[in-house]
Symmetry: C2
């Protein structure tokens, strides 16, 4: 099967699982919160993290159905982080994935609560599985640690702290390796955890490089993109004087850096048997325009 | 040992465990987030949920050390809910436990992130235990479901929805049974889950009644209390036209209602062997003035 066919296969499989899980939300809960949760997770995203999880699971011959559940959990956490990130007190963004951000659509209080609910629900989904094993504990532990105060949230805090500050490469990497790379690495590590940690260290490094590269490409798109293509407000980083790769390295330097991390990821990936799809996926992330 | 001695014993044991866990926070994480997390959890609280957990575990002869870990997780979730509840877009409260609320002290963005971090950390703490068993899965599942969109968060959403609305007893119970009672019930159910679900249904009902009673007493204190005694701004419910037991039943009616739920909890508790401490604790919660 060609790359696009395989990508769509993972994508559809994930969307089906996500729909099932969202459809199973308790109907006795207030519609306002379940609507806001569904709105925040549904539609528009490229589902890169889920596709990373399913394709890595496939590559390692892990239980795909189980990987699918964790892919949903990762995407729930990714979505909550966007919902809270868009809040007025944070990045204050009215648009996300080409539509109103959650707080803009449902109000700020519901935006806060929907984010909380999505984060919490990620663990409900993991813990709702039957016959949990030690592999599940390992997977959940990776998820929790990567998303927490010393992972993704650390990155967001640093992102705020270095706004309008004169900081350099060291600080930039500190932000990116946490804010973005942690949640790009998680799906790969979970796939590995479901297979007795096969290629764990390698996949950890792959995720790091892919994550940094992903964020640099994001920075470059922010500089050159428009709302219609991006689905979110462009030129925001510049306006808010965020510490970005473009600010630190200049546009040409950022392009060079993205290339370095793409090639670093590729070099490690190529040594893992069956990694053709992941190599091509890395290439697509590298060359994306939205 | 007398009641106070026993209460202090549980309290100290919990504080020691909490301190250990907070002291173990990764020092490579940004100090801003770990400071905000510690600030939000530390000091002032009566630790009713942890004491419920430890005393129930004691009563059922559950593993107290394990119960202590879950007590920390419950308190982390309770604390995050207060941090987010105090945000300007939510209840907008500048004081909590006699000091500035987290967003007032650290800024709104850090308030949001600290809340997120505490919720996430609750699961990190649970999953960080060694040799996890099926009982642990059950305990974590109870925690996640009780705190989530169909538990505590549902209550908070309803609380917002019924603000300034003409609603009655049914809606009030819908809010209180979720917003407050779920996280009062959780410590009891976790203790039970650690002992093959001993007295599970009874403790679920006890938690429900204690939780409703706890919230009604809170309402009565809001009407009559002052900042110094309460540690939080009084008369807020009235000002914001919240749906409270005092609004629905009047002050006398609310007192009567609290009594009913106290007695209901007591009746069930008395039938569980070794429940003397929990019965007295219920009495203290009923008679508290802060």
């Amino acid at each position: 099967m060609d790359f696009n066919g395989q990508y769509n296969g993972y994508f559809e499989r994930f969307e089906k699982k996500l729909s099932e899980i969202l459809a199973s939300l308790n109907t006795s809960a207030p519609a306002l919160i379940t609507d806001a949760m569904r709105y925040s997770v549904a539609g528009g995203g490229k589902r890169i993290r889920p596709v990373l999880c399913l394709s890595a699971a496939d590559m390692l011959s892990a239980d795909i159905e189980k990987a699918c559940t964790y892919a949903v959990a990762v995407e729930l956490i990714h979505s909550y982080s966007l919902v809270h990130d868009d809040l007025p007190a944070m990045d204050n963004d009215d648009y996300r994935r080409g539509k109103f951000s959650t707080h803009k659509k449902f109000g700020e209080a519901v935006g806060i609560l929907a984010g909380d609910a999505l984060l919490n629900f990620a663990f409900e989904v993991c813990l709702g599985q039957e016959n949990l094993t030690d592999c599940d504990f390992a997977a959940m532990k990776i998820l929790a640690e990567s998303a927490g105060y010393s992972g993704m949230i650390a990155g967001q805090v640093l992102d705020l702290q270095y706004e309008k500050k004169d900081a350099g490469e060291k600080e930039l990497y500190e932000i990116y390796s946490n804010k973005t790379a942690k949640l790009i690495t998680v799906p790969l590590l979970i796939a590995s955890a479901l297979c007795s940690r096969a290629y764990y260290e390698q996949l950890e490094r792959v995720g790091y490089h892919l994550g940094i590269m992903f964020q640099i490409v994001d920075d470059l798109l922010d500089v050159s993109g428009d709302l219609a293509t991006l689905g979110k407000t462009p030129h925001k980083d510049e306006k808010e004087d965020k510490l970005t790769s473009v600010k630190v390295f200049g546009k040409t330097g950022a392009v060079k850096n993205a290339k370095f991390h793409y090639e670093s990821a590729l070099e490690i990936l190529k040594k893992i048997p069956g990694s053709t799809f992941l190599c091509e996926l890395a290439n697509k992330i590298y060359g994306r325009n939205s």
